[in-house]
């Protein structure tokens, strides 16, 4: 493969910069974006496992009420809260931006590292501290907060809610630290993408993975401030007795000192952050899955330009839809019109993305590799989750469905499983670049089929519980007359599947470790991919990524199966041959 690498003279032994040499500077206090990426990913997966275990505990209670004495309502709400918060923020946001973002951005745009490596390192350590602070809340008096991951005041800081003593404070502190960590990392990613691309790498030649991560990071930089401010104000309410979100309140017979505040203000601030946040975890998945589909179908991504504009459009629109989470919150009812329209408009760019993924498969040369399997599973689960989102976005339909299991089913389909499937696919795809070895496919198949079929069996029927009207965040509801007996059977069924799926994740983790030592050697470019990260001199790439000479880019990232060319792919750093007639969208620019 290396003979197609042009524009550079590479001899792997001849480094410009030999990089750090001691174990400590290489793997612990490392400023290398690749090491930081791995640190981020391992931390995120570890904390994700905690959230997974919490989901088992919740499911045990829901599937077999009155069986497990050690789960009381306090505990249940604490599990729900921590499960939701960890999964959304500390797992998905961290792994997509801190993990994949860190690893892929410099490699894909042809940079040697992030522009400010030291800040990048700090970002990881702050993230680790935020995780530790969050975990410490399990061990304080009263335990972690049980206010729901939305943390709505007044209840989150009042007795009657578990963890109102310390849990909520630690949660807010942890979030603030996370935001600082994210800002340090995010500034780096954005600046690197904008200012440190390789020669010839125009924005419109970047792989969609980078686009997804780029826009998601910008959204994070603009959305997290609202959470920060909401968090600070709530902390003041809790610790200083201010009344930002607290009106006059009689809590369990006792008059509190608060007066005049507005609980809805917090909800607006939270969702001004919260809705962009759900797209922050979706856009990187959109981008990565586009690349996986294109590479493993050996075909260019269909409608690249539309894909880019769709990502940008979704990113921009997601700042004006936040109150679709508040249709029944008692806000000004006329907001319903505005937010229903904006919300459904987002479906258009999203739909374009779905069409283009499917159309990329059309007339492709589809290799059903592990990444491809996960990508197809992603499309299916995302379509289901997205379409159920349309129910909720259509304001009046949300009235009966809000706060029921329909919502739970919606967001587990669209966020709890679709992006997670992309994470898996992406790990299968880039593992060879990170370690030099392929993951085991047999274990992969077991993991894939159980996870995919299992989650569908779990979440699809869950929608129907929502139609019945089963409310979410309920510790128990056996005695509700309108819920048929059979619903309990369904719940038990879901629980059993959830446990099986959970167990299979251990197989995946085992695969990660096993293949590191025993996996098949991969070579520098096992998937015959075009993007720059596969064209590095060494695998895994060394410090500084490119050896002595920077790569030069001549074409977009999707020159697969170009007619008249023998190989079915042309790497981005290969110049145009004379008389090459087919051109990607941005092929007339930049290569001087």
């Amino acid at each position: 493969m290396t003979d197609t690498v042009t524009g550079t003279t590479i001899s792997p032994t001849d480094h410009v910069d030999h990089g750090p040499t001691t174990f400590l500077t290489k793997y612990i206090w490392s400023q290398d974006h690749k090491v930081i990426a791995i640190q981020y990913a391992i931390t995120a997966i570890s904390v994700g496992m905690v959230a997974l275990v919490l989901s088992w505990l919740m499911r045990l209670q829901l599937g077999f009420p009155d069986t497990f004495d050690f789960i009381d309502p306090e505990g249940y709400y604490q599990y729900v809260t921590m499960h939701g918060m960890i999964m959304v923020i500390y797992l998905l946001t961290a792994i997509f931006l801190g993990g994949f973002g860190n690893y892929l951005i410099p490699l894909m745009i042809g940079a040697r590292d992030m522009v400010f490596p030291y800040l990048n390192m700090l970002s990881y350590w702050f993230y680790l501290v935020s995780v530790l602070v969050l975990m410490s809340s399990f061990f304080v008096e009263g335990g972690p907060t049980g206010a729901g991951w939305t943390l709505y005041p007044p209840q989150s800081i009042l007795p009657g809610t578990p963890g109102y003593e310390w849990g909520i404070i630690l949660m807010l502190v942890s979030l603030v630290i996370f935001i600082v960590a994210f800002t340090m990392g995010g500034l780096n990613y954005v600046t690197t993408i904008l200012q440190a691309r390789a020669k010839g790498m125009t924005l419109m030649r970047m792989p969609l993975s980078v686009w997804g991560i780029f826009v998601a990071t910008i959204m994070g930089l603009l959305a997290f401030p609202a959470l920060f401010v909401g968090g600070v104000m709530m902390m003041f309410d809790r610790l200083l007795g201010t009344s930002f979100f607290m009106p006059a309140i009689i809590a369990q017979g006792e008059a509190l000192q608060y007066n005049g505040g507005s609980p809805l203000l917090f909800q607006h601030l939270f969702w001004f952050f919260g809705h962009p946040e759900v797209y922050i975890v979706a856009l990187p998945a959109f981008g990565i899955v586009s690349d996986l589909i294109s590479i493993h179908a050996r075909k260019n991504i269909f409608g690249y330009r539309m894909m880019v504009w769709a990502i940008v459009g979704i990113g921009a629109l997601s700042f004006v839809v936040w109150a679709h989470h508040m249709y029944v919150s008692g806000m000004n009812p006329y907001f319903g019109f505005f937010f229903a329209v904006t919300t459904l408009i987002i479906a258009v760019p999203t739909a374009i993305k779905v069409y283009n993924w499917v159309l990329t498969l059309w007339r492709g040369d589809i290799h059903l590799t592990m990444p491809m399997l996960y990508s197809i599973a992603f499309i299916l689960t995302f379509v289901v989750g997205g379409l159920t989102g349309l129910f909720l976005g259509n304001v009046v339909i949300d009235v009966p469905l809000s706060d029921t299991y329909f919502v739970v089913a919606h967001f587990h389909m669209v966020m709890g499983i679709a992006p997670i499937l992309v994470v898996f696919g992406a790990i299968y795809h880039w593992y060879p670049k990170i370690t030099g070895r392929l993951l085991n496919v047999k274990m992969g198949h077991i993991h894939f089929w159980v996870t995919f079929i299992g989650t569908y069996l779990m979440y699809f029927p869950m929608h129907y519980l929502g139609f019945v009207g089963v409310p979410r965040r309920y510790f128990a509801y056996e005695d509700a007359v309108f819920i048929p007996e059979s619903a309990q059977t369904l719940n038990a069924f879901i629980t059993v599947i959830a446990l099986i799926i959970g167990a299979v994740q251990l197989l995946f983790i085992f695969n990660l470790i096993w293949s590191y030592y025993k996996g098949k050697e991969a070579g520098p470019n096992p998937w015959n991919a075009t993007s720059l990260e596969w064209q590095t001199a060494e695998t895994p790439p060394g410090h500084g990524n490119w050896g002595p000479t920077d790569p030069v880019v001549y074409r977009w990232a999707y020159d697969y199966s170009v007619p008249g060319v023998e190989e079915d792919f042309i790497p981005q750093n290969v110049p145009h041959a004379k008389g090459e007639t087919h051109q990607g969208p941005d092929d007339d620019k930049g290569d001087t």
Binding site: S262, L264, H268, F319, V320, N332, Y334
Partner: protein
């Protein structure tokens, strides 16, 4: 990455430019203080405050922060996203009025 001559081109305005802007900021600040000192009320007060505020902010951003001499690519990247805040502010004004009127109606306050 940056050639020095390009830099010079942008940065070497005579000191008097800054002194002039400084003076204008002083005057504008004095004027906004006067709005309070002379106790203008109601819409006059609010519009005057806003006008002076926008002028001051504009001068600081465009001259002191050199936005005026930046290329459109940077100007747009920095000035467009804050529009999202305007959406938030507008809706929060409507929301706050709604809550206030609810309180006046049902809580016998106000």
């Amino acid at each position: 990455m940056t050639t020095q001559s390009e830099q010079q081109e942008h940065e070497l305005h005579p000191i008097s430019t800054y002194l002039k802007i400084w003076g204008m900021l002083f005057v504008l600040s004095a004027l906004s203080y006067m709005v309070d000192y002379l106790s203008f009320q109601g819409y006059v007060r609010w519009s005057l405050i806003l006008i002076f505020m926008v002028l001051k902010a504009g001068l600081i951003v465009s001259v002191f922060m050199h936005m005026q001499w930046e290329r459109l690519a940077l100007k747009a990247a920095i000035l467009v996203p804050p529009l999202a805040i305007f959406v938030l502010v507008t809706l929060m004004i409507i929301e706050a009025n709604y809550i206030f009127s609810s309180r006046v109606t049902y809580f016998g306050a106000g």
